[in-house]
């Protein structure tokens, strides 16, 4: 299982589901919801927080918060399709 905080810089993924109820409400209203494509675009100098591109803008979040978002790496999705 991959979570959003495990993405490498420049990597894209698709949001699957959330493990934290409260944060999920916040993520959804920020346009970061299941089936949405996200891309890791920045990591703060101390390694935390991170910034993702989602729904056409950049959203910053702490790694701890990112770890509550389950994602599928986009490469995997493409691979599954071709198989």
């Amino acid at each position: 299982m991959t979570t959003l905080d495990q993405l490498k810089l420049g990597q894209t993924a698709v949001v699957q589901e959330f493990t934290d109820d409260f944060l999920s409400l916040k993520f959804i209203e920020m346009g970061c919801l299941p089936s949405e494509v996200v891309k890791l675009v920045n990591i703060a100098p101390f390694g935390d927080p991170i910034a993702i591109e989602v729904s056409g803008y950049v959203l910053s979040l702490r790694k701890e918060e990112a770890s509550t978002v389950i994602v599928t790496l986009l490469n995997d999705v493409v691979l599954n399709k071709t198989n």
Partner: protein, 669 residues
């Protein structure tokens, strides 16, 4: 729309960073009124405009991402829409960013479901065009069921059309919420508005149900929006890495990011310290000459003294802060407006989080090197309540510019200019040490408060990093003006009241002691500065100063310092002036003579020097930590709307100051 009414009430609603404030300014111009919402320190902006003979009253609501609030600002926005929906609010102007239309339309669909007449203003349409985003207006109007107006609030494009559409605003026929699901979960509720209303009054079980509904409903809204966007918006397939993201690689860089951050701080402080100094001196001098003039113009007596030394001196003490506050707010607003502040928060959040603060506490903390008042006022950008309170409570520990004269006087007693180590003057090193001590104390206090304060509010950092934009100078100017006004009227009232009390204490004495002193002075031909010293000694403040001597003796202070502690409760820098009066060193601006007098001051009985190293260090530490600034307390009150917080601030800082001075004094004695 009914035609009987004379003024229609409109609310301006949108996400943060949708350009709402600029649109508000463009629509209402200089007719604005600013205040706070009842009971909370969320700013309320109201303005008026007229169009084709109809007058409108416009309220700029705090930005919100949805009608299910996640912060105090958002709660105020939602509650204002709801409480007014039945009678006062006639329509809503929804403001959305055309370059980021999908996320901004989530709130729009929720507002449409409230069944209030709405108009959608698609702002920043020029930027959307630059990015080759095409929006089909007619299709969007059909699907949303409301009028859509393309607006560029910065260039004032589309405002006439927006006003025309406001005149014709109607309730949409479209419904976006899942009414079947809502009817199943909440059979008693007849509308979407009732559901939004319910979240503020419901019990825990209902709250859980509402959250479940919110989640599913918002997801389904986005699916509907995906369809709408596909129909109405044409976007270039592959977006290049945006300019903002390119700038970010520099501003959030491990090395250059911090370099730039400190460069900005350096520039801000150059301005705040050196440029604000000019108008501040000018204000002080103008007030001094005006007070002089008034004192001579009015018939002498009690009233004269009250007006000049009580009221005018109090007002002068308030107004003198204005240049610093205005300049600091100017920079803070520009940093906010350009989007840089979000990046500063981003690079420093990790460090600040360890101390119960977050990235957004950085600027208030650093601004308080100049003055704690604008710092406390700028904590409004921190949406998390606990983080905001901690920031407010600890910022006054950081050494502000008012401590500088006190530090300079005392350090000057201990060290001479000749005292150097490796070519660095001791004076400079100690002064720097005092500033570091302030920062250390603030962070330590924050760290402790992190465990003491309890909150149910979740602390998160899910925050939009807005695209970089040029600041809107008119909006910046308006905001600075509003902040200064807020300070003058909110904190000003309290400061003035305390100034008058302090005036009474220093200029009045029991029975006719002053008259006796004056008679004696006349006989002995005492110089006037010595008479003033005697008067102060026998005034109520002097009596208190002597009364508290047993309490301050353990930290090495005598009654003379005691009097100065009382008078400088208004503001720290008053310490120097009072000491000058007590030691009757004449011109209070001439600290050189005062310093010599203090250095040579001997105990009457033992003939030992009074200002020993131990006493000096004790004084330094005391002034570093003590809450000797009623302007700060008044601001804390007006920013927290509760006397509890300034009281806690006063108590913990006093205890810290006394305790530290006690340790320092007894260790060095």
């Amino acid at each position: 729309m009914s035609t009987q009414k004379t003024t229609y009430h409109i609310a301006l609603v949108g996400n943060p960073n949708s350009g709402k404030s600029t649109l508000f300014n463009s629509l209402t111009g200089l007719t604005q009124k600013t205040g706070n919402y009842a009971g909370v320190t969320v700013e309320k902006h109201e303005g008026k405009f007229e169009h084709k003979g109809t007058s409108f009253s416009l309220t700029d609501l705090p930005g919100t991402y949805s009608l299910f609030p996640k912060s105090i600002d958002e709660e105020v926005a939602c509650k204002t829409i709801l409480s007014n929906a039945s009678d006062k609010l006639d329509m809503i102007v929804i403001v959305a960013d055309a370059t980021n239309i999908k996320r901004h339309l989530l709130l729009a669909t929720q507002l449409i479901d409230l069944k209030i007449p709405c108009v959608l203003a698609l702002n920043m349409i020029d930027e959307a065009e630059k990015q080759n985003i095409t929006i089909y207006k007619k299709e969007l109007e059909n699907l949303l069921g409301i009028s859509v107006v393309f607006v560029n609030s910065r260039k004032k494009v589309g405002l006439e059309e927006l006003k025309n559409e406001i005149l014709k605003a109607k309730v949409s026929d479209s419904i976006f919420y899942n009414f079947e699901k809502q009817a199943k979960a909440f059979p008693a509720l007849k509308s979407y508005k009732e559901l939004i209303d319910l979240q503020f009054t419901c019990d825990a079980d209902e709250s859980k149900l509402i959250k479940q509904f919110e989640k599913e409903d918002n997801i389904s809204r986005f699916y509907k929006l995906n369809y709408i966007i596909a129909k109405c918006v044409k976007k270039p397939e592959q977006l290049n890495k945006s300019v903002s993201q390119k700038i970010d690689t520099f501003f959030t860089h491990k090395f250059f990011g911090f370099l730039f951050f400190f460069l900005i701080l350096f520039i801000v402080f150059q301005f705040v310290f050196f440029i604000a100094d000019l108008p501040m001196t000018w204000i002080e001098e103008s007030f001094a000459s005006f007070m002089n003039y008034t004192a001579n113009a009015l018939p002498p007596g009690e009233l004269n003294d009250l007006i000049v030394n009580g009221v005018l001196a109090g007002i002068s003490g308030i107004v003198v802060f204005v240049p610093q506050i205005a300049l600091l707010f100017f920079f803070i607003t520009v940093l906010e407006d350009t989007g840089y502040m979000a990046r500063a928060s981003f690079i420093l959040d990790k460090v600040m989080q360890k101390f119960g603060l977050n990235g957004k506490s950085v600027i208030p903390m650093i601004s308080s090197v100049a003055c704690a008042i604008p710092s406390i006022m700028s904590t409004r950008t921190i949406s998390n309540w606990k983080t905001r309170i901690i920031t407010i409570l600890v910022t006054p520990l950081i050494s502000c510019s008012a401590r500088l004269p006190v530090y300079a006087l005392i350090i000057g007693i201990m060290f001479k200019d000749e005292h150097t180590i490796y070519g660095f003057s001791y004076k400079g090193i100690v002064l720097m040490g005092m500033y570091l001590l302030g920062f250390a104390a603030a962070f330590l206090a924050a760290f402790i408060l992190k465990f003491v304060l309890k909150t149910n509010e979740k602390n998160y950092f899910i925050m939009e990093l807005p695209v970089y934009r040029m600041p809107q100078w008119q909006t910046v100017g308006m905001l600075v003006f509003k902040k200064v006004k807020l300070f003058l009227f909110n904190a000003g009232k309290i400061i003035l009241a305390i100034s008058i009390v302090l005036w009474f204490l220093t200029s009045h004495a029991p029975s006719n002691v002053f008259a006796q002193l004056e008679e004696k002075a006349l006989v002995l031909n005492t110089p006037s500065d010595e008479l003033n010293a005697q008067k102060l000694e026998h005034s109520y403040a002097g009596i208190f100063g002597k009364k508290i001597e047993p309490f301050i003796a353990p930290i090495g202070f005598d009654w003379k310092i005691g009097i100065s502690l009382i008078t400088s409760f208004a503001a720290r820098e008053v310490f120097v002036g009072t000491m000058a009066t007590i030691y009757s060193s004449g011109d209070s601006d001439n600290t050189e003579t005062l310093r010599e007098k203090l250095a040579s001051e001997k105990n009457v009985v033992t003939q030992a020097p009074v200002y020993t190293t131990a006493v000096c260090w004790s004084l330094l530490v005391f002034y570093a930590f003590a809450m000797q600034c009623m302007s700060t307390l008044a601001t804390t009150y007006s920013e927290t709307k509760h006397w509890k917080w300034p009281f806690i601030q006063l108590v913990f800082m006093s205890v810290l100051a006394y305790g530290s001075s006690f340790i320092v004094f007894n260790f060095l004695k």
